[in-house]
């Protein structure tokens, strides 16, 4: 049942991706709005899939990357849906929906019985680490998406191309606000994920630092985000540079958390 719901969620997110892409390509705001509605339906089905499945039961028993990606996809979608209610951000669905689809797709690898059995043995810190890391990843993902759209809009305004096409992309001010909010909260969650990761390592091995490529890369990603947050809030970095930083920071985070995990 859960596998079916999971597949249904992926299909709904994919539909939202297609609609959001059509909305931007055909310059039809109605498509973007529909994409957000479809994404909301996907988030509901996704939540039901969590409750239906032992693999995704909350709090998360899954310490692996696929489960974390799945959880991050749902959390990111929920954060986006919360933000879109407050500002004209529908076009952001063009990045959020495919990311959610990708997260669910990766999450489908968490459904095999061997993985489930291994995860049952994970300690409590592991659950907290996965929950916090997934939430932080999701928020920083939304920040990266907002950053990319900010740069697209900024570039279009500076080059004076496609001017006056209201509702095609969200206004710069809204994108910058999303960026500031998601980067600051995402960084906080990432920091807590790092702390719980250390506690998890200490509980299982007695060591303070796991010295794995994943942990080292995650620490570097955290340091990069610390610099970005400092530049943004303490050194008065401009909005365009903050957008570039958020997009680049998330690219590095994906590499650090997922890339190193996959290719190690």
């Amino acid at each position: 049942m859960s596998a079916d719901l999971h597949a249904l969620t992926a299909a709904i997110y994919l539909t939202a991706s297609v609609l959001a892409t059509l909305g931007l390509a055909l310059r039809r705001a109605a498509f973007s709005r529909t994409a957000v509605a479809v994404l909301a339906a996907g988030a509901v089905v996704h939540a039901i899939a969590f409750f239906e499945s032992p693999a995704f039961a909350l709090p998360p028993r899954n310490a692996g990357l696929p489960g974390a990606a799945d959880l991050a996809a749902w959390l990111g979608t929920v954060v986006f849906l919360g933000l879109v209610r407050r500002a004209r951000l529908h076009a952001l669905a063009v990045l959020v929906a495919p990311a959610a689809f990708l997260g669910v797709f990766v999450g489908s690898f968490a459904l095999d019985p061997a993985s489930l059995a291994a995860r049952e043995q994970a300690p409590a810190w592991a659950h907290a680490h996965v929950l916090l890391a997934s939430a932080g990843f999701a928020l920083l993902g939304v920040a990266g998406a907002a950053g990319l759209l900010y740069l697209a809009q900024h570039r279009s305004l500076k080059r004076k191309t496609r001017l006056g096409q209201r509702a095609l992309l969200p206004p710069l001010e809204a994108l910058d606000r999303v960026n500031a909010f998601t980067v600051s909260v995402g960084f906080l969650l990432l920091s807590l994920a790092l702390v719980t990761g250390v506690l998890w390592t200490h509980a299982t091995t007695g060591a303070l630092w796991p010295r794995s490529p994943h942990a080292n890369a995650a620490l570097v990603a955290w340091a990069i985000y610390a610099a970005l947050v400092g530049a943004r809030f303490l050194a008065r970095q401009g909005a365009a540079w903050s957008a570039r930083s958020a997009a680049a920071g998330f690219a590095f985070l994906v590499l650090a958390v997922a890339g190193v995990g996959v290719w190690r």
Binding site: K160, L163, Q165, E173, R236, G238, A240
Partner: protein
């Protein structure tokens, strides 16, 4: 019965003439226009670009003369004595399908001075409402105007004719919407106090802009404009200070040297919170140093940038006009079909009357014999009525469902001939008795 339209618009009459025939309240003149003999229903549309009277009449030729006289006597207000000649040359006259098409084009804003402008539909609706309130609008024009509103809605939904702004002021407002979520909490600085600034300010106000500061060389002119828009007036020497607290800067002032140099803007950016600054330079020669656009967080657009967008949008509207015309034609055909179906009503009534007469007579003839055989009269009536209804169902439905007016009239003529609806009643009945 037919539809007749007489009017003048921005293409046929200059403003100097149109303004003499403009009407504030169409009620009283409409009351004089409508009567039982010639003009059954009428609507009068008066906007700054057109004055048009549209009527539903049983006598189109007389209605035309009546409408001309209506313009000359009822609508002319303070027109010069020689205005009659100019009026004759400026009026256009349309009848039937052409008048319907014209109304649909007007409502859909295809006939407007600015293609796709949104106000005209509201003005047509107001004209229709005024006619209804004056008791000048009956079922035919109500149907016609409802159809016109639906056509305008279709054009708006199915084409991009009204999607993009075509004036520099509107493009500027749309541009602000690409940068700011709302203008309600933003502060604007306007440098200059000419017509362009005023127009842009009106548009920005409509878009929600609240705080306005106007700086000008002549402070009195700035004060006059500021008082109208609930803003504050300043001299040009205050510009550096005002710049730091502004989100939108709009300049259109004379002079060859830029009013805003790069250093001014750089200094202002250092002293303000991190938020974008939109600078719209509508001046010729330019009022803002072009290198200001290189600064992070500053978006500078000059009159050429905005004009290019306005022209591209106007071109897109012109392209969409072809699609809009196709929709109008389609809807005209539909309305024509409805009128043709309306023309079928007397024929359908005659057909039913004739069938009922025959049925009643035949029942009367057979009643004596059948009642003797024990068949009740009620059963005989029910049976024959049912037969007649079933036989007439298909031809009546066909008569009602005509979509093309010409074809519909031909079908009506054929039906009247086939069922002998135009002959003398006694002769027909005698002939039927003979055949029997």
């Amino acid at each position: 019965m037919n539809i007749v339209l007489l009017g003048m618009n921005h293409r046929t009459a200059p403003l100097a003439l149109r303004e003499h025939y403009a009407v504030d309240d169409p009620g009283p003149p409409l009351a004089k226009l409508v009567d039982r003999d010639v003009v059954a229903e009428a609507v009068l549309l008066s906007t700054c670009n057109r004055v048009e009277a549209l009527v539903w009449t049983a006598r189109p030729e007389v209605a035309r003369l009546r409408l001309r006289s209506f313009f000359e006597r009822e609508l002319a207000q303070g027109a010069p004595p020689d205005a009659g000649v100019a009026l004759g040359e400026s009026l256009y006259e349309l009848t039937g399908g052409e008048a319907v098409r014209h109304l649909f084009r007007v409502a859909a804003s295809i006939d407007s001075m600015v293609l796709g402008e949104p106000q005209i539909l509201g003005q047509v609706k107001d004209a229709y409402r005024a006619a209804v309130e004056a008791g000048a609008c009956g079922s035919i024009l109500t149907r016609l105007y409802q159809h016109a509103f639906a056509t305008a809605k279709r054009v708006r939904n199915e084409t991009r004719i009204a999607e993009r702004p075509v004036s520099v002021a509107r493009v500027a407002a749309e541009l602000a919407a690409e940068i700011f979520e709302t203008l309600e909490d933003k502060a604007a600085l306007l440098v200059g106090a000419g017509d362009m600034i005023e127009l842009a300010l009106e548009t920005m106000r409509e878009a929600g802009l609240s705080r306005v500061r106007i700086a000008n060389r002549t402070r009195a002119r700035a004060e006059s404009l500021a008082s109208r828009f609930d803003g504050t007036a300043h001299g040009l020497d205050e510009l550096p200070g005002l710049l730091g607290t502004s989100d939108v800067v709009l300049t259109c002032i004379g002079g060859h040297a830029p009013i805003l140099a790069r250093e001014h803007v750089e200094r202002a950016l250092r002293g303000r919170p991190l938020r974008p600054l939109l600078v719209l330079d509508l001046g010729v020669p330019r009022n803002v140093d072009p290198s200001v656009d290189e600064l992070d967080g500053v978006y500078l657009h000059d009159v050429d940038d905005l004009g290019r967008v306005a022209e591209a949008n106007a071109e897109e509207r012109r392209r969409e006009k072809i699609l809009a015309e196709a929709i109008v034609l389609e809807e005209c055909q539909r309305f024509d079909g409805w009128l043709a179906a309306l023309a079928a009503v007397p024929t359908i009534r005659d057909l039913r009357d004739r069938a009922e007469r025959i049925r009643a007579r035949e029942v009367e003839r057979a009643a004596g014999r059948l009642e003797a055989a024990g068949v009740p009269r009620e059963a005989l009536d029910a049976l024959t009525r049912s037969l007649v209804n079933k036989l007439l169902h298909a031809p009546v439905a066909r008569l009602r469902a005509q979509e093309d007016r010409e074809q519909g009239l031909a079908t009506l003529e054929a039906a009247r001939a086939l069922f002998a609806l135009d002959g003398d009643e006694a002769d027909e009945d005698a002939a039927e008795d003979g055949e029997a």
